[in-house]
Amino acid sequence: MRTLRSFLARSPARSPARSPARSPADSRADRPVAGKPVNSWWAGLRVGLGLATGAFALAVTFGAFAVTHGWPAGLTILMSLFVFSGSAQFTLVTTLTSGGVGPAVAGAALMNLRFVPMAAATARSLRGGRWWRAVQGQAVVDGSWVSAQRADGTFDRDKMLAATLVQWPAWVLGTAIGALAVPSTSIIHTAGLDLVFPAFFLVLLLDSLSASSRLIPIALAAAAIAGVSCRFLPAGVALLLASLAALSVLWMPTPAPANRRTRPAGELAP
């Protein structure tokens, strides 16, 4: 517990990023890779490797799950190639088996509704014209989006792209192996690979909280909301409700400007 406290206290207050009290050095710290795209790509690849491990394990499970639910292996692989969203794909396969196309697509779309505000938040960090920004927006997936966020609310575009570009083939390859070989899901369970995603999300969350301890009650509230909600509601809806916990920050007292180095969520430890 003391370790956790000291970890969180390392850089306790991520003050509003636009705080006038911040020194130029702090600004540079918030953008550790700005102007160094190679480092951004490298950081993204490293983050993406961890995420891809989890994506691969989950994709093998998904591929086997879909085929055992009567989906052709080829279509299952194509779905992973073009949709690239685990929660939505699981929802589609599950609900199409028991319902019509409309409810199945609606349920899967609801799962991904969170990507609308997430992608919108990246808009000013992306480059190029309208269509090119829309293409880059396709790189928004949970882990990449979180790890690419800087302390000032902008996004490290290259890091997000790199992290997603590592996960995408892992997701498709894992689906192909699962769909064609249909391994027993008990192998994944016994090896503990189902822990990869929650563990990765936890380390990213700890990074985020170490940069801003005022987010701790929000994270706890979100976990509680999601935990209770997913008992009765689809996972995507539970996540949407959990995201609403972020709004409570608007009623929190504004922290005093701090002139300390901050650490963006997802920045890798040395």
Partner: protein, 102 residues
């Protein structure tokens, strides 16, 4: 079979629109201070929610106590400064060991 193909095509298009609309329309638009504050808090909320949903699963069908020690191990490893991948592997090893022994 047609239903499956139609559903996949529809979901792919919806996903494209969901992720592409904001970046295409907003461009360099800057959110207001209050919106930006809420967006800054969104990752922590989303991550915490994802952890809960991943651990429990739909209708709590995936709830498994062996994941908690693994998750705790990953968390402690991170507070000790270990790299992300090492934290995850440590957590996975603990959960796998508990399942093997159990």
């Amino acid at each position: 079979m047609i239903a499956m193909w139609s559903a996949v095509a529809a979901l792919a298009v919806i996903n494209l629109v969901f992720k592409g609309a904001g970046p295409a329309i907003l461009g360099d638009h800057q959110f207001g201070a209050r919106t930006q504050t809420a967006l800054d808090a969104l990752p922590a909320a989303l991550l915490a929610g994802l952890i809960a949903v991943d651990l429990l699963g739909p209708h709590w069908d995936n709830a498994d106590w062996t994941m908690l020690p693994g998750l705790a191990t990953a968390g402690v490893a991170r507070t000790r400064g270990l790299p992300h991948l090492a934290c995850i592997l440590a957590g996975v090893a603990v959960t796998a060991a508990l399942r093997t022994l159990g």
